[in-house]
Symmetry: C2
Subunit: 329 residues, 2 copies
């Protein structure tokens, strides 16, 4: 393949001029510009980005660190990220950690060795110390999960309010004993949702009961498992809030297996509003998170950080929505 020199020679100019038309920096005489463009066409010249990247010390690559790509929530976020990134000429370096801290390290090395211009952590299990270290030297944005104490940009939803509304909905539709299948407690969303859950109970004069809150692992099986525990209680719940759609579906499956009916006997609300909610029968009432938007905004914020030398930080909370389906009414 031909380089910038050949183009320069063919156009009868210096490499500097070719570089100028390439980046349309400073002014080039229209006629010389035409000559250069012509030469570029003729030689089918493509600038070598490796050289440009070295020179400019950038890669136009964004590290996207996510727990698992085969989770509908994350894949939607990734779609949003990619969509926005493309608009700005950036691309996504995809990093599936599968919650393995070893691979996380490997991927973070990509940042240190300048293979990427910045990083977006989507719901990542990363130590605060590691995170602050990275944030000191590289542009970082947190997506979905974040740390409240740290001054690091993030984008998320109002998890407390969301859980509050979900519980309110269950109560308003006649339930009184609301159980909660929550997520990992190192996630801030888990703690905030628990607050919202408690608040809703309190506002409706319902006593909080320890045994009605359990942790799941976001998957279908953990929904089944926790629901089995709930149904074996002396006073089983008549409403369930789950921290993910898959756990909600798992719960519903177990309820049906037990000969009970959804929504008649027990109402169930999920979280995220992934496509699974409308595939499953009964369709699942769920808190809709703007996953695509979150991905887009995360990239937006990251690019702002990349292009602003000072310590720009932005915390963004996006709107959610309770989508009511047949698992509650």
């Amino acid at each position: 393949m031909s380089g910038i020199k050949e183009v320069a020679k063919l156009a009868g100019v210096s490499v500097a001029t070719v570089s100028r038309v390439l980046n349309d920096s400073s002014s080039v005489l229209p006629e010389t510009k035409d000559r250069v463009c012509e030469a570029i066409e003729k030689l089918n010249y493509q600038p070598n980005l490796l050289a440009r990247n070295l020179r400019r010390s950038e890669t136009k690559l964004i590290l996207a660190i996510i727990p698992s790509i085969s989770n509908m929530f994350f894949s939607e976020v990734v779609r949003g990220m990619q969509n926005k990134a493309r608009k700005y000429g950036y691309n996504l370096l995809l990093c599936n950690t599968e919650d393995d801290s070893e691979s996380l390290k490997v991927y973070l090395n990509l940042l240190k060795s300048r293979q990427a211009d910045g990083v977006i952590f989507v719901s990542s299990a990363i130590e605060q110390q590691t995170l602050t270290g990275i944030a000191k030297t590289h542009p970082v944005v947190l997506c979905s999960e974040y740390y409240d104490g740290l001054d690091i940009s993030y984008i998320s939803i109002d998890n407390k309010l969301a859980a509050y509304q979900a519980v309110q909905h269950l109560i308003r539709t006649g339930r009184k004993r609301i159980a909660f299948i929550n997520g990992f407690d190192y996630h801030i969303s888990t703690r905030l949702r628990l607050e919202g859950y408690k608040q809703a109970l309190a506002d409706n004069n319902i006593e909080f009961r320890e045994e009605l809150v359990r942790q799941g692992t976001y998957g279908l099986k953990s929904g089944l498992r926790v629901m089995r525990q709930f149904l074996s209680l002396e006073e089983p719940p008549d409403g369930v809030l789950a921290g993910s759609d898959m756990m909600a579906i798992g719960a519903i499956k177990f309820i049906k297996q037990s000969g009970l009916k959804v929504p008649e006997d027990i109402g169930v609300v999920g979280f995220d509003d992934t496509r699974a909610t409308s595939i499953f029968e009964p369709s699942v009432t769920s808190i809709s998170q703007p996953m695509f938007d979150m991905g887009q905004c995360a990239v937006d914020i990251l690019l702002k950080k990349i292009n602003s030398l000072q310590g720009y930080e932005e915390k963004l909370i996006l709107e959610h929505e309770l989508v009511i389906r047949h698992s509650t009414v």
Copy 2:
């Protein structure tokens, strides 16, 4: 951040020696090696990959072009690709085309400008001409869909046999009028599956009927739509093979809406065996494709091509499996 020069100075050696221990190329005296490593540690030195990439003219990046990341089939393939790539120090540049040919072009420019060492097309809608052009100058592997006439490496399953077995299964479980919701006809899988479908009918002395074959778009809605057409026939089918799990689920949904029962009145078989098959009720009988393996093998083949100067090509067919669930028995 410190460069190789600082390390060299601190260790009291030349940059060449530092480079040697970095790549453990040729022999370095153990004691000098120790000194260098020590200096690297002390300065927390990370080689600048941009410079290395320019020098070596490689990026250790693989372009992964897929129609949509939010499709379970593709996300599993991507997981496999990433998994294997990591083992060899490669990373994935994720490109969601959303079936937009414009963005495809953009992504292919990454190859031309040397931002990636090779490309894997997963079920991509790409013109043969474009493809052969790229394959002439860059390492290319096709995954899932491919072109039979071209000498370009690919990995897939035996789609004809798979469809054959699915239809056999429907017939063996008592069905006689088998309908087929097929995929896009620019996909080779679509054509091969049709062959298998016809073959199975022929082998069972069942007449092929044009009106029992329709095209869908792989999504849930198209399954619903096509099933409506089938049920409005004078002689509706008692068995359905769908080219994707989502279409199978859509079909089942419509069947149930129509007051008929699955599997009692109509048996349904899907394709791919994505997780949706076991989430849905009834669970869906499906042809299991080794998606993760396909991703892994695709990367394997691509790396072989990258590391072999001559025109290495490999065509691989992986095993599939009919997984029987409640939608047929």
